[in-house]
C-alpha cells in the first residue's frame, strides 16, 4: 500500500530550483534510501513532504489524501514524523520529556499517558536513565532520543535525516538494526537520507537518487550504484 506519494513536486528559492518536478512513492513496510551529492535537494525534499517548506508547485498525497499545503503540525498528527540533521535536544527538558512531546501534541495524550508510552518506546530503543539532562547524552543516545521522539508521534511514515552521522561503525550497526526492527514491527514507510553508502546498502530495499533537485535514478541500491548517471553525479563528471 502506498503511504506517501508526490507528483511533480517543485520548490524554487528565488532563482534556485532546489527540488524539480519530483514524483515518488513510499510504501508501508518499505525502507527507501534518498541519496545524492551535497546540495542535491534531499533535505528540502523531506521538508516539503513533512510540511516545513511549502512547494512552489506539485502535489503531496498521504494515504490518498491531498496534503500539499497542510501545515507541519497537522501532518505530524496524521502520521508523518521526521528527525532533523542538526539536532537540537530541548534544553531544560529531560530525555523522557523530550520523547513525550510527540505523544502529547501529535496524539493529544495526557502527560501521564504520554510518559508511559514514551517510557515504552525508550525501553524498545534501549535508552535508559531517562531523567537525565540532555546535555550529558552521548551521540548515540541523542540519535536514539531523536528516533524515539519521532516514534512517539505514532507515525505511519517516518523520515530520518542523516541519523547515522557522527556515529562509529558499531553504533551505526546498532542503529541500523533498530531502524529495521521498528520499521518491520510497525509496518512503517521509512525514508532515509544518508551519506554513508554502506548504510544505504544494508538498510534500504529501494533507493532514489537526486541531483540538482531532480530524480535521476531509482531502484535497488545494487542496480542504482552502477548507473552511469549516478556515478557521474557523484564524481562531478570527472570520471
Amino acid at each position: 500500500m502506498t503511504t506517501l506519494r508526490t507528483e511533480g513536486l517543485t520548490r524554487r528559492f528565488q532563482g534556485l530550483v532546489a527540488v524539480k518536478d519530483l514524483s515518488f512513492h513510499l510504501d508501508a513496510g518499505e525502507i527507501l534510501g534518498i541519496i545524492g551529492p551535497n546540495g542535491a535537494g534531499k533535505t528540502t525534499f523531506i521538508n516539503l513532504v513533512s510540511g516545513i517548506t511549502m512547494p512552489s508547485s506539485g502535489r503531496v498525497e498521504y494515504k490518498g489524501r491531498d496534503i500539499t499545503y497542510m501545515p507541519a503540525h497537522e501532518r505530524a498528527r496524521i502520521g508523518i514524523a521526521r528527525t532533523y540533521q542538526l539536532i537540537h535536544p530541548l534544553e531544560n527538558l529531560t530525555v523522557i520529556e523530550n520523547v513525550m512531546i510527540g505523544s502529547v501534541f501529535s496524539r493529544g495524550k495526557s502527560l501521564k499517558e504520554a510518559r508511559r508510552s514514551a517510557e515504552a518506546i525508550c525501553a524498545e530503543l534501549e535508552l535508559d536513565r531517562l531523567d537525565r539532562d540532555t546535555a550529558k547524552l552521548s551521540m548515540l543516545e541523542i540519535k536514539k532520543m531523536e528516533i524515539a521522539r519521532a516514534l512517539a508521534n505514532e507515525p505511519e511514515a517516518l523520515f530520518l535525516d542523516e541519523v547515522m552521522a557522527g556515529l562509529n561503525s558499531d553504533e551505526t550497526k546498532q542503529v541500523i538494526g533498530t531502524v529495521q526492527r521498528i520499521a518491520a514491527e510497525r509496518n512503517l514507510a521509512v525514508g532515509v537520507v544518508e551519506h554513508v553508502m554502506g548504510v544505504i546498502r544494508e538498510l534500504t530495499q529501494r533507493v532514489i537518487v537526486l541531483e540538482a533537485g531532480e530524480l535521476i535514478a531509482e531502484g535497488p541500491y545494487e542496480k542504482v550504484s552502477k548507473d552511469p548517471r549516478v556515478i557521474e553525479a557523484y564524481l562531478g563528471g570527472a570520471a
Binding site: 532533523y84 513525550m100 508521534n153
Partner: protein, 311 residues
Amino acid sequence: MNRNLLRILAALVAVAAVALPAFAGAYPLQVARNVILYMALAITWDMLLRSGQISFGIAGLFGLGAYASVLGVLRAGMSPLLSIAFAGAFAGLAALLIGFLILRLRAIYFSIVTLALAEIFRIVIQNLHDFTGGPEGLVLDGVILGGSASGLYWLTLAGLAVALGASWWFEKSKFHFALTAIRNNETAAKSSGIDIFRWLLATFVITSVIQGFLGGIYGQSYGFATPDSVFDANFTLLPLAMALLGGIHSTVGPIFGAVLLGLAAEWLKLQIPYGHLVVYGVIIIIVILFIPGGLYGLIKKANRASEGRKA
C-alpha cells in the same frame, strides 16, 4: 536542600505574607504592596518569555486594565471588585485581537511592536477626552475597600496569587512542553505536532488577562488613572529587570528578583532620589553580561555541581 524543607519554607513565607498587616506599619505595607505588584507582573512577563517571545508591552496591558476598571466603575456603574475582573477580561480580549496580528512576528520585531502598542494605547486613551478624561485622567469617588492599608495589601496579594497559580500551572501542564519546545526550535516543535500560533496566542492572552487584572487592582487601589501614571514605562522595565536578576524561565526567579530589586529600589530612593533608576540600569547590564541565568540560575548551577561531586 531537600524538597520537603523547601515546601515548609514556602508555606512559612506564604503565611508570613498573608499575616504581614498584623505586624507591619503603613509604610512597610505600602512598600510590600509595590514589591508584590511588580513581582506579579514579572511572573507574567516570564511566562511569555518561556516561549522565547520578549514583550515590552506589559505597561500597555496593565494601563488598559487600569482604565477599563476605572471606566467600568464610572461609566457602567460596576462594583469595584467586578471592575477588576472586567479589567482582566478587557485586556484579554484586546490581547486576543492583537495577538492574531502580531504573533506571527518573532524576536526583535515582536518586541518592538509590543513596545509600540503600549504607546498607542496611551496616546489613544489620552486623546479620547470625553470618555477617558484626556491627559488629566479619571478620578473615582473613593478607593476600593475604603482605602484600608491592610485591605489594599491583601487585594494586591490576591493578584499575586493569581499570577503565581497561573505560572505554576504553566510549569506543570502541557504549556511547559509546548513553550519550551517553541523556544528551543520552532521547526522541531511543529514536527512534534505543536500548533505554535495557538500556544503563543493562548499564552499571550492568559498573561495579558493577568496584567490587565493587576492594572485593575492598581487603578482601584489608588482611585484614579491618568495616561502618565498607569502607562508608565516602569511597569514594563522594572518587572523585566526583576525577572532578569532573579532568573528567567521559572516562577522562583522573578520572586527572588522582585524582593531584592524592590527593596533595593526603596532604599536607593532614599539614598539618591531620582538616581535609583541609574542603579537599576547598571544592575540589568551586569546581570545580562555576567549572570545570564540570574540568581536562581546560579543557585541551580551550584546545586547541580554539588550533586555532581556526590555522584
